[in-house]
């Protein structure tokens, strides 16, 4: 039988950083960002460059907070939503840093933490930089319509988060947060074809991963302070709740979703909530990490959720499969 849970040895978070945009500055988690840039171009002249600039700033913040240099880091791994992951790889152009590019759609932050933790745990790397990003404008341009195009969004659609979260894995005495366990997600196809309802496309994948974790772990969901999916949004969150209920799986009110935490769904024009790699990345690197180091939370489960599609598969009316990776973060 397969072991569902990966148990890591001595993988700790040395530091984190996160950078966001204007909409994120108007949301309830604005206090947890290192920087909130009101200029969506980040001082650049294209959306693609803007996203890379955002990521560069996040990485630089992380290094300066950790008082480290690129040469102190053994490996970097990360990804974004743009074709061929350019926003991430272009950041490291002149950085003299080994790099693994990842694509897990919006689950990328969790995926990069898992890859990073595997390298650290097996001592192939002492310090690993994990990061993920998305930018509302570059994502709209690639996946939907030009920004100036006049269209209406359905209530189940979500709004891509402009943000980059970066997490440095290592193990110094000072580290307060451990990356303890993980479950690698399976591809789950729920048959959903509506690109404006990604929450529905990803809910089953998230539920599957959570149940696989608790099926093998001897912990109860009650032992956790927060169990958060990455970006199901309100629609997917409510669907997931319904699916848990049907499976008679009790979550003791610990369940929430990063896509609902990052914005004020009533006041901000984001429909069902936030989405994108940046969503779970900034909520984890900012809000969750802060809760863990302050002792306000001791155990957090992050379930990064990714909808796997490209514009062509959508036009071909293929369904949208999803993946959900679980990472357990514990305060020590």
């Amino acid at each position: 039988m397969r072991n569902e849970i990966l148990h890591f040895n001595n993988v700790f978070i040395e530091n984190t950083s996160c950078v966001g945009g204007k909409k994120e500055s108007e949301g309830p988690l604005s206090a947890y960002f290192d920087m909130l840039e009101p200029d969506e171009y980040f001082g650049k002249d294209t959306w693609e460059k803007a996203e890379s600039e955002m990521n560069t700033r996040a990485v630089n913040f992380l290094l300066s907070k950790a008082k480290l240099d690129y040469s102190d880091i053994d490996l970097s791994c990360g990804g974004d939503l743009l074709n061929q992951c350019v926003a991430t790889s272009f950041v490291l152009k002149n950085c003299d840093l080994p790099y693994l590019g990842l694509y897990g759609a919006c689950s990328t932050m969790a995926e990069s933490l898992i890859i990073g933790a595997v390298f650290k745990s097996s001592n192939f790397a002492k310090r690993v930089l994990c990061f993920a990003s998305s930018h509302f404008c570059s994502a709209e341009k690639q996946y939907r319509f030009p920004l100036e195009y006049g269209g209406q969004r359905t209530p189940t659609s979500q709004s891509t988060v402009t943000g980059c979260g970066a997490i440095l894995l290592g193990d110094s005495e000072k580290c307060r947060v451990e990356v303890k366990e993980a479950v690698v997600g399976k591809i789950v196809d729920s048959g959903v074809t509506d690109v404006n309802n990604m929450g529905a496309a990803m809910a089953e994948a998230a539920v599957d991963t959570v149940i696989r974790y608790f099926g093998e772990s001897n912990l109860s969901p009650d032992a956790f302070d927060i169990i958060a999916t990455g970006d199901l949004g309100r629609e997917g969150y409510e669907l997931a709740c319904e699916l848990f209920k049907r499976k008679k799986f009790e979550l003791f009110g610990k369940y929430t979703d990063c896509g609902m935490l990052i914005y004020d769904l009533e006041k901000q024009d984001v429909h069902a909530g936030g989405s994108g790699c940046g969503c779970s990345a900034v909520v984890t690197a900012g809000y969750f990490y802060d809760k863990l180091i302050r002792g306000e939370a001791k155990e957090i489960l992050l379930i990064g959720t990714g909808a796997l599609l490209n514009p062509n598969t959508v036009f071909q009316k293929q369904s949208i499969p999803a993946v959900a990776h679980l990472v357990r973060l514990s305060a020590r």
Binding site: E148, G150, V192, N197
Partner: protein, 149 residues
């Protein structure tokens, strides 16, 4: 759970667009744009243009205006409310041409502006032209057969 059951479960609970409100907004904006088109036609006629020329000038004016509003970033704000009210009039066509042209300027004037200009509105030209040509051929044979004209 089968895909069918899951689809039913998601469809049953998915929040719907407020159709009635959307329809009212679409009716008012769409109606007003047509009134503007008519007013411009009347205006050009007053200024001495022929009936045909006035209609053409009115169309051009709406296209130019919608493009300008797209450029200054006002069109999509209105369209978010108006929905089909700005989409269906010729203004929607103009917006669909202008928006990708502006957005893709970063890829240059050939591969960006030039190549992407009709990425949304292209099908309108393709199928409109095709339909008119098919109709033209049919009309020709109907005329020859003495069934039309």
């Amino acid at each position: 759970m089968t895909h069918k059951e899951y689809k039913k479960m998601t469809d049953d609970r998915a929040k719907r667009s407020p159709t009635l409100l959307n329809c009212i907004k679409a009716f008012v904006t769409g109606g007003l744009i047509c009134v503007l088109g008519q007013a411009l036609t009347v205006l050009y006629q007053e200024l001495g243009a022929s009936v045909e020329l006035s209609k053409t000038l009115s169309t051009i004016s709406l296209v130019v205006l919608a493009g300008l509003l797209t450029g200054i970033g006002v069109f999509d704000v209105i369209a978010k409310q108006a929905g089909a009210g700005t989409l269906v009039p010729i203004t929607g066509f103009s917006n669909a041409v202008t928006a990708p042209a502006i957005e893709n300027k970063t890829e240059g004037f050939i591969n960006g502006v030039g190549a992407k200009m009709f990425v949304i509105a292209g099908p309108v030209i393709v199928y409109g032209t095709f339909a008119s040509a098919v109709y033209g051929v049919m009309y020709y044979f109907l005329l020859r057969g003495g069934l039309a004209g």
